[in-house]
Amino acid sequence: AVRPLKRRQPKQTNELPHPNKLPGIFDDIHSSHGRQVCRRHELYVSFRDLGWLDWVIAPQGYSAYYCEGECTFPLDSCMNATNHAILQSLVHLMKPDAVPKACCAPTKLSATSVLYYDSSNNVILRKHRNMVVKACGCH
């Protein structure tokens, strides 16, 4: 049997937002206490900026998405968005009516591939699966 969770009093009102009233992708809605709702950000770092163009053939830069901000039902707001979302997903599974689905657990991870010269001027292609967040629960 699931032990009832000793929940800390959430800072905001007890009234839980309905899951499908979660903020849209680029809404600038701030939750009631000035905390920024979870938003998707793009990170692109040009390899030219890093001075890597003499050894990296492709891609031209590192590109990924990440989420920043807090879900509307923060269990513990000091976690970062992704860890928080994973915990919230677990709690949601146990108490789907009381706790909404987490809004930014990664739902699609993509591989990264990089083509570069090694120190013997051989050309190397390296691929790593499940490395870059491409989509998450709310975006």
Partner: protein, 244 residues
């Protein structure tokens, strides 16, 4: 942006990276890409850095692999998506042997394999050499075979290990792909020894032909047609990439 890292369309707040940010960002991205660190490149004369056959081939492979994203299903064996690491070797020495009239002609290529990381399992290996139509031999069928030089001897012929044989016409042109996967067992055991691949060409009635006369191009070929080797690896527990 797509996984091939092309510039995303939306405009993001842009700003220059500070020195410390650059260092931190480099370390982070190297870790995500699973690269041990930035290689110390050997300075090559500019002409030698022109696009050569291996980079062009590998760039096509990169784009094919990028489109292969997250494709884990599919037939086993050498599907592109299943390889974690593909290495092309261009750093080599070439030797021709055509001394005695009765002795077989051959062309040998030596590859430096010291850069192969430990813990990688070879799934396939190919030796790629470009053939142009022969200017000396016409209307003839040729057997082109490749051997691994297992052990060299000063007083007698080297110990060879047969790898692959292809049959084609003297007038054919294009990339010849020879399967050298069978040699990978030995080279993983002795990584600091160069890998020697020896090419023999014979007519149907067994006459040895100099590979160059048969139209096989070596290091003197234009840079986009020079021979190279490609090896596909399937990573076992690679320690380079710390769990994210």
């Amino acid at each position: 942006g797509s996984s091939s890292g092309s510039r995303p369309q939306h405009s993001c707040p842009q700003r220059r990276l500070g020195a410390r940010e650059r260092r931190d960002m480099q370390r982070e991205i190297l870790a995500v890409l699973g690269l041990p660190g930035r290689p110390r490149l050997r300075a090559l004369p500019a002409a030698a850095r022109l696009p050569a056959s291996a980079p062009l081939f590998m760039l096509d492979l990169y784009h094919a692999m990028a489109g292969d994203d997250d494709e884990d299903a599919g037939s086993p064996g050498r599907r592109l998506g299943r390889a974690d690491l593909v290495m092309s070797f261009v750093n080599m020495v070439e030797r021709d042997h055509a001394l005695g009239h009765h002795e077989p002609h051959w062309k040998e290529f030596r590859f430096d394999l010291t850069q192969i990381p430990a813990g990688e399992a070879v799934t396939a290996a190919e030796f790629r050499i470009y053939k142009v139509p022969s200017t000396q031999i016409f209307n003839t069928t040729l057997h082109i075979s490749v051997f691994e030089v297992v052990q060299e001897h000063s007083n007698r012929e080297s110990d060879l290990f047969f790898l692959d044989l292809q049959t084609l016409r003297a007038g054919d042109e294009g990339w010849l792909v020879l399967d050298v996967t069978a040699a990978s067992d030995r080279w993983l055991l002795s990584r600091n020894k160069d890998l020697g691949l020896r090419i023999h060409v014979e007519t149907l009635d067994g006459h040895s032909v100099a590979p160059g006369l048969a139209g096989l191009l070596g290091r003197q070929a234009p840079r986009s047609r020079q021979p190279f080797m490609v090896t596909f690896f399937r990573a076992s527990a690679s320690t380079i990439r710390a769990p994210r």
